[in-house]
């Protein structure tokens, strides 16, 4: 892993090394939080990172998400698995305050998404399904923008940005416009950017979608490294190996949570010997997971999202 060495160190170690105290190591990723996680578990660990109770969202008559209930523990690596249009992205958008739920409640790090959206925004990191970068700006400028939006003090900005560039292996490309980047580079930049403000929970919406196998592997190595550091991650995917690598998987179909549990258990329960999550999915929903083509329902959902018949 191309992690900067100091990131593995505890706040105490970096303080002893003469660096600025805890603030400094905490600014970048959750690594510092992780190193102190053991000690904090008694106070923080009892509270789930994400709690979802009866969460639902309608677009007109269409129910995109129907009464979801689940929770994600701190330090857990959780995946929502389901075909296109199952409601995964809508769920993530509600959890990240982009979309108001029409029913139920959800909280992130103890903050209610509807009542304390400002708090929620401070504690989450987000990587969208499609790049959310300014392509006319350079990688460094995109990171600067992020650092300012998240209130990182000017003195710490520079270092936070340098660390992010190193972590994303984009030091040489730092002053190139993002327009010239490959899909994999953009994703690495977005992932590094989402960590700049040391979020409590990282939301990844189909993080490896559209990447070539090599880009996919590189990105996954980085995501995996975050997991080993104990960062809480909630991702959506319809990629089986990715889902199988998670601590727990929530299988979602047509806006409903069909089953939830560790991948191994789900396979043992629903698919039996030699099966995989795909078999679990077929057993539970009678459908193939890998249905790349948009269904009529997808088209309806995206049409309704764009404003229904008023779209022009």
């Amino acid at each position: 892993m191309s992690l900067p060495p100091e990131r593995g160190g505890s706040p105490a170690a970096s303080a002893a090394a003469g660096g600025p105290p805890a603030v400094d190591s905490g600014v970048y990723t959750a690594s510092a939080a992780t190193s102190a996680h053991g000690g904090a578990a008694s106070t923080f660990g009892s509270q789930p990172a994400v709690t979802v109770e009866g969460l639902g969202r309608r677009f007109g008559d269409l129910i995109a998400v129907d009464s979801l209930t689940f929770s994600v523990a701190q330090g857990e690596f959780f995946a929502l698995l389901g075909p296109n249009g199952a409601g995964k992205t809508t769920t993530i958008h509600m959890l990240t305050t982009l979309l108001e739920p029409t029913s139920g409640r959800a909280s992130v790090m103890g903050y209610d998404v509807a009542r304390e959206p400002q708090r929620v925004r401070q504690v989450l990191g987000m990587v969208f399904q499609d790049p959310a970068l300014d392509e006319r700006l350079t990688a460094r400028e995109n990171l600067e923008l992020h650092a300012v939006l998240y209130g990182i003090p000017p003195r710490e900005r520079r270092q936070a940005i340098e660390q992010a560039l190193v972590w994303a292996s984009l030091v040489e490309a730092a002053d190139r416009r993002v327009r010239t980047f490959s899909g994999g580079m953009k994703r690495r930049l977005e992932l590094a950017r989402a960590l700049v403000h040391s979020p409590g929970v990282l939301f990844l919406d189909e993080p490896t979608l559209g990447l070539d196998p090599q880009g996919r592997r590189h990105l996954w190595e980085r995501i995996d490294a975050l997991r080993r550091e104990g960062l809480t991650v909630l991702m959506t995917t319809h990629n089986l190996p990715e889902a199988e690598a998670c601590d727990r998987v929530g299988i979602i179909d047509a806006g409903r949570l069909v089953e939830i549990g560790p991948p191994g258990e789900l396979v043992a329960k629903h698919a039996g010997e030699g099966g995989d999550l795909e078999d679990v999915f077929i057993a539970l929903t009678g459908k193939q997971l890998r249905d790349e083509e948009a269904t009529a329902r997808d088209l309806m959902v995206s049409f309704a999202k764009r404003g229904g018949e008023h779209t022009r």
């Binding site: 505890s10 706040p11 805890a22 603030v23 190591s25 905490g26 600014v27 959750a30 510092a32 939080a33 190193s35 102190a36 996680h37 000690g39 904090a40 106070t43 923080f44 958008h93 990240t96 305050t97 982009l98 979309l99 108001e100 400002q118 925004r121 401070q122 504690v123 989450l124 987000m126 969208f128 499609d130 790049p131 959310a132 970068l133 300014d134 392509e135 006319r136 700006l137 400028e141 995109n142 600067e144 923008l145 992020h146 300012v148 939006l149 998240y150 209130g151 990182i152 000017p154 416009r177 950017r193 403000h197 040391s198 979020p199 409590g200 764009r306 404003g307 779209t311 022009r312």
Partner: protein
């Protein structure tokens, strides 16, 4: 030490702000607009080509037929109008990028951040206003060609009017853009907004006045004074023209007419509308539009798009 400090977890704070305005966010969003403008040569090219077409080609071409409007050559008369045209394009282009940003760009990143939306909106609008001033200054470079003499004060005054016009138009554009989901309507929007505002502002024809050449038809002094009482300032001679009433009404309800009139006064010392109305619209409409634009962007944030 708080529990957070003990874990070393320093979550982002909301950017420091006073009265809902975070200067750092305003600055970073403004700077983004500047960087985007600096890297888009096509906008500068568009401003230049518009200036050459309208001011030089139309100005001298139509000027050959019209000779003079109220003692000014036609090219001189339309100079403020060409500046306004450049400002309208610059401001709307800046505003319309919001649609793009929301679909595939940086806007979603901004929406999930704790940055206050009012500051984000302000940064964008001020950026649009600044680009407007730069684009609007292109025709000023052509003033020696058309015989308009600039002073430090007339340039500063013109910049002030351009800035407020740019702010107003960017805000108006943001309000429109916040209602758009796709780019499909972009062509009709830019044509449907820019052209009426431009043509119905007295930019290329006067509300009323004397058109023709000096010596073409000498106006006797008593008639000249009578005309002045009607609000028609006849410096040279020629035909007295007055627009049809329905066009006049449209010109009077168009806010750009007043902004343009003030700009024309600043650059040419020639005015067709009451000064008080010019000042009130130019400096009053922009802040109102900014409030509505910020509100539109906030609402957009709440709707999750």
């Amino acid at each position: 030490m708080t529990a957070q400090a003990a874990t070393g977890r320093t979550h982002a704070k909301a950017p420091p702000s006073w009265a809902g305005i975070a200067p750092s966010v305003v600055w970073v969003m403004w700077r983004r607009e500047m960087l985007r403008y600096a890297r888009d040569r096509s906008q500068l090219f568009g401003g230049l080509s518009r200036t050459v077409l309208w001011l030089v080609i139309l100005g001298f071409g139509l000027g050959a037929a019209l000779r003079q409007i109220e003692g000014y050559t036609y090219a001189q008369y339309i100079l403020p109008g060409v500046i306004v045209l450049n400002v309208l394009f610059a401001a709307l282009q800046c505003a319309i990028s919001l649609v793009w940003d929301r679909q595939v760009g940086i806007m979603r990143e901004v929406l999930v951040s704790p940055a206050p939306m009012l500051s984000v909106a302000l940064g964008k609008l001020l950026g649009g206003a600044t680009v407007s001033v730069i684009q609007g200054s292109i025709p000023l470079l052509f003033t020696p060609l058309i015989g308009v003499r600039l002073t430090v004060w007339s340039v500063l005054g013109a910049w002030a009017v351009m800035f407020f016009l740019g702010l107003f138009m960017t805000a108006l554009g943001v309000i429109i853009a916040s209602q758009l989901r796709t780019f499909e309507g972009f062509g009709s929007i830019s044509n449907g907004v820019i052209q009426p505002l431009y043509f119905l502002s007295g930019s290329i024809f006067p509300l009323r006045g004397v058109i023709g050449g000096v010596g073409f038809l000498e106006i006797p002094q008593h008639l000249r004074e009578e005309l002045r009482r009607l609000g028609i300032f006849a410096i040279g001679g020629g035909w007295v023209v007055q627009l049809p009433t329905w066009i006049q009404v449209l010109v009077y309800v168009n806010p750009v007419s007043y902004q343009l009139d003030l700009l024309r006064y600043v650059l040419l010392r020639f005015q067709q509308l009451p000064m008080a109305a010019d000042l009130a619209v130019t400096f009053g409409a922009a802040p109102v539009a900014v409030v509505f634009a910020a509100w539109a962007m906030r609402r957009m944030a709440a709707n999750g798009r």
